[in-house]
Amino acid sequence: MAKVPVQFTLNGSEKAEFVESGTTLLAALRDKIGDTSPKGGCHQGTCGACSVIIDGELRLSCLTLAETCGGADIKTTAGLAEGGVLHPLQRAFLDAFATQCGFCTPGMIMAAKVLLDRTPNPSREDVVEALSGNICRCTGYEPIIQAVLLAARANSQNAA
């Protein structure tokens, strides 16, 4: 099949790949570029494990074709830590014991990041709403909700 060139920014660095037409962004990130932080849970848009941020919007990479991402600014959980220091959301997920098997975690963190970028002081209802597209089998969700609220508090203290 004909290959299509695609160029985008991933976590701040330029990427250029040839992908087969129809390749999902999830497959391109994981199998071509080697960023395995987005997980393939259902491959049909229902679990949220593959969530990434494209031009500031939360997107399901399993339902996004790589070839439609030309010029896009893509962020994944793998790009959150800076200089070996965990992002406040990652820190909060650890401190709140919000991860067990970890399969949902990168998607949860992406969803939470988009929420906190827009709503720095979210209510519990805001958090529940923001996470409602992401499935977790292990934690019972409460620790994840608490982690996001914890990260929001940590952010506002840092800003103050």
Partner: protein, 334 residues
Amino acid sequence: MAIRRGRGVAAINYPTGMNLGGDPTQALVHSTPTGNFMVTLSSVDLGQGMKQIMAQICAETIGVPTDRVIIDTADTDTGPHCMGTFASRGTHRAGNAVIQAAKEARQVMLEVAAEELEVNASDLETDGQGNIQVKGAPQKSISIFDVALSAHFKRGRSISGRGMFLIPRSYPEKETGAMKPSTCYAHACTVAEVEVDDETGEVTVLTVKNVFEIGRALNPKMVEQQLVGGSWMGISHALYETTEPYYPNRDHGGTDFNQYLMPGPGDLAETEIIVLERPSADGPFGAKGPGEMCANPQIPAVANAVFDAVGVRIDTLPITPERILRALKAQAAG
């Protein structure tokens, strides 16, 4: 037609591991040249925290900080034998095997240290910080780093140990059928409060209060995490999880996990967890299995709460709106 409230209670005993033909787990421990300790297991960490707990158990037994222990859960082709990670057995079975292996490794470590310090091994103790010292004379000490170097490069010793934990098979007595399926039981009790809409059959769990007796909690935060998730999963089993939630005819049912229902972040009951620790006689440092058992007591508690609310006994899981409505109809028909 109304929203009706009910409250139900249930208590369980839950065996740690099973015993259908003997239930073994094995472990190997060895030191690296720099005095870190490697634990090789076939038991798998699938998020329940096996690696952390085994590192704690090994570190405590050898007398080193937990970060000096590396857990390799290898694979089942190459690792020491383990029956598997199921039936809440991981901490109990693998933990006992790790203790035995770590004790043997510790003994070799102390023997090498004794040769270096020219004292008796029985006079030595670990300080928990990575050193070995003479009891009562801590100024006479050697680091475990140096002991490992000596063992590897000077004395030709392998600081290592083998561990095996086996619950032997129990056969039923011919006369009575009595047998001992397990040597160790965890316990739990749950009170659930629900609202049942007797028009739609829908159940909302308002609160779920759980007490778990799980032996000693080797890592209290991880135990709590397991119990919170398990309590949620128990409600999920009670009310949601089936491949044909509303359709008795299989042809109309779900074909995919897409249609497999579980409560989401918006459907959470107010949850309380209380841990009681009564150390078990044969568990590693008194531990029992908190894993699978913690998702069980919510199920009968919710079933009892539904009965309390609307007076019907649902004896098939999950307790779906359809089952409740059918039972209510049968009840009305008398």
